[in-house]
Amino acid sequence: MIFDKFFKLAFLISIALPGTSQMLYEFESSQQEKRFYLLISEIRCPKCTSGSIASSDAPVSRDLKNKVYELVLSGATDQEIKFYVSDRFGDFSDYRPSMEGANYFLWFSPFAVFILLIIIFSIKRRV
């Protein structure tokens, strides 16, 4: 009786397993592999509120990962890959915004406000 249940369970698990298998990425070098995993951790999942495509299993994230994988293997540079993605999914897609244009505000405004506050408080002390 118990064996019967065991075999039923084993059968169910065996048919459920293929559903959980993920696409495995194989690389020509460990450097390519490192770049791939760094890139997918720096590209934002366009379908999620917040999270990289590495952390997401949304269909569009899977497509993006496959595309990044293809591009890494084809020898594209990190910058080319990020441009390829942001060209389609917007600047929003890059978790490390490039230092140009309006992004300077993004990068430096916290420091500017911080320095301003220090100046204000130090002057106030002295008075």
Binding site: D63, R88, I120
Partner: protein, 173 residues
């Protein structure tokens, strides 16, 4: 000078608050309003009948609606699209990651608001368009994408984003 600095301590946080409040309070649906127009990506795909889709079909003012038979929200926006096609707006479907037979059956069952549907089973064209799921809708004017919304097309989004651009495009220059 001292007075100025003191007022700055009060004013600065208020200014920062106002700056971010503007971003936070803006309607989520309207955030796609600022859109840099770009060329419609090149593609070579067939329509659901198996005939190749020509790039010329994107001339003039066209809507491209990403849909699929498995997509529930597509069914929700379907009456609105039907209304638009009744008002003589030209809508091209982009059938996304679907099977041809299911897509055709869906259109037969619910009616087609589309001139025709581009069949994109792997989502290649959709990827180049930056589609994150279905439904999404693009406004194309002479093969240029000038607006893009994600999710259900509603009267509100139509009035806020699409209608002004169509109105502008129809003005004789």
């Amino acid at each position: 000078m001292n007075m100025f600095l003191r007022s700055l301590i009060v004013l600065l946080p208020v200014l920062i608050l106002v700056f971010f409040a503007k971003i936070l309070l803006v309607d989520d649906e309207i955030k796609f309003k600022d859109f840099e127009s770009k060329n419609f990506p090149e593609f070579s795909l067939n329509d659901l009948n198996g005939d190749p889709v020509r790039a010329q079909s994107l001339d003039g003012i066209k809507l491209v609606n990403v849909w699929a038979s498995w997509c529930i929200t597509c069914l929700v926006e379907h009456p609105f699209l039907t209304k638009l096609s009744g008002q003589n707006f030209k809508i091209i479907g982009l059938n996304y990651k679907d099977s041809n037979a299911k897509a055709v059956a869906w259109l037969e069952k619910h009616g087609s608001p589309f001139l025709f549907s581009i069949y994109d089973p792997r989502g290649d064209l959709a990827f180049d368009l930056g589609v994150t799921g279905a439904p999404e809708t693009f406004l194309i004017i002479d093969r240029k994408i000038v607006a893009h919304i994600q999710g259900e097309m509603t009267q509100k989004k139509w009035d806020a984003i699409f209608a002004p651009k169509i109105f502008k495009a129809r003005q004789p220059s």
